[in-house]
Symmetry: C2
Subunit: 199 residues, 2 copies
């Protein structure tokens, strides 16, 4: 099937974008390098993404956004205690970072800091990815009994702490700040949850 193969290279380009953007950022990643990593011929990039780098970037944001949102949802499904689920997000990220020698950060954050001020389309794509994660976290909190407004605010706080801890951990090449933040975030969620639990 020619369609299946086409989808495959397209998918490989998106996956390569996700991998490279999270380690090098958007501006620091060349399209030549990207096609090489994807094992795709040079011309295929403009075949699948006629809009060039900017279109590819935006679609990588959507791809990575959906990918990670599934992971967050799975975590909140697996750990029904929202405080534990939140803590697990930090611990899981600590594993990813140390396993990759602190290379594999967050692709959305990297691209955001690179282009938030220069490309409105890409910025909007980043915002949408973050929004979907916030919505996923908030849904997990709401499932545990959090009122809607509390769930939204708490989700913003959890994701902020996580994203910031990733930045600090990568700079220091040390997971300590992730583990520290995990404890405080867990405590904060527990404290909030006291208000929801009926008993």
């Amino acid at each position: 099937m020619t369609d299946a193969k086409a989808m495959d290279t397209r998918q490989r380009l998106l996956a390569a974008g996700e991998r490279l953007f999270r380690t090098q950022g958007y501006a620091g990643t060349g399209l030549k390098e990207l096609t090489e990593v994807a094992g795709a011929p040079w011309g295929s990039l403009y075949h699948f993404f006629p809009g060039g780098k900017e279109q590819l970037g935006a679609e990588v944001m959507r791809y990575a956004g959906a990918l990670y949102a599934r992971g967050i949802a799975a975590t909140f499904m697996r750990f029904t205690d929202p405080a534990e689920a939140a803590e697990r997000m930090f611990l899981s990220e600590a594993s990813v970072l140390s396993a990759s020698d602190y290379r594999d950060g967050c692709p959305i954050a990297s691209v955001t800091l690179d282009i938030a001020s220069t490309s409105e389309d890409l910025r909007a794509a980043c915002a949408e990815a973050f929004a979907s994660w916030l919505q996923t976290i908030a849904a997990g909190l709401a499932a545990a009994g959090a009122p809607d407004e509390t769930a939204k605010a708490l989700a913003g706080f959890i994701l902020s702490a996580l994203e910031g801890a990733i930045v600090l951990a990568r700079a220091a090449k040390n997971p300590a700040v992730l583990l520290q933040s995990a404890r405080f975030v867990r405590a904060a969620v527990e404290r909030e949850a006291e208000g929801w639990t009926s008993r």
Copy 2:
């Protein structure tokens, strides 16, 4: 005085680096653009920074690191209640972001995500800048009575939440997440501080 003028252009180059890196990142900033913004001739860059872009980047990290550390110290000096001081850091950043239409983020974070995996020298310079901020925050907490270990951990948590909130706020072009996180961080500090206050 020729020395004074030389220091001036050098300083202007550093200041331009700080401004451009925080909006565009390291890889996204061209040296030509940087010298133009600094109002400095092209050649002066390699006169003052023979090591080229990488040396300039590292020195900008030191410059911005020291600059912001003074601001953090001033905040903890002005607001002796550490919970309020922490909250003020978030509110102040919200002002900076909305005043700059969400362009002026954190230069250290931007550079970290761009080059943590590609330049060891720059990564170390970023780590040192963050470490000085953490130390400043921890000192402010310790001055309010926090035990050393608690102060260090809490400082990591506060700065993580702040850095992450900046990223999310810039993507969304919305300060809400900064204000939300401010509340939770303030509550967390207050809760911890219950253990220190003698009365």
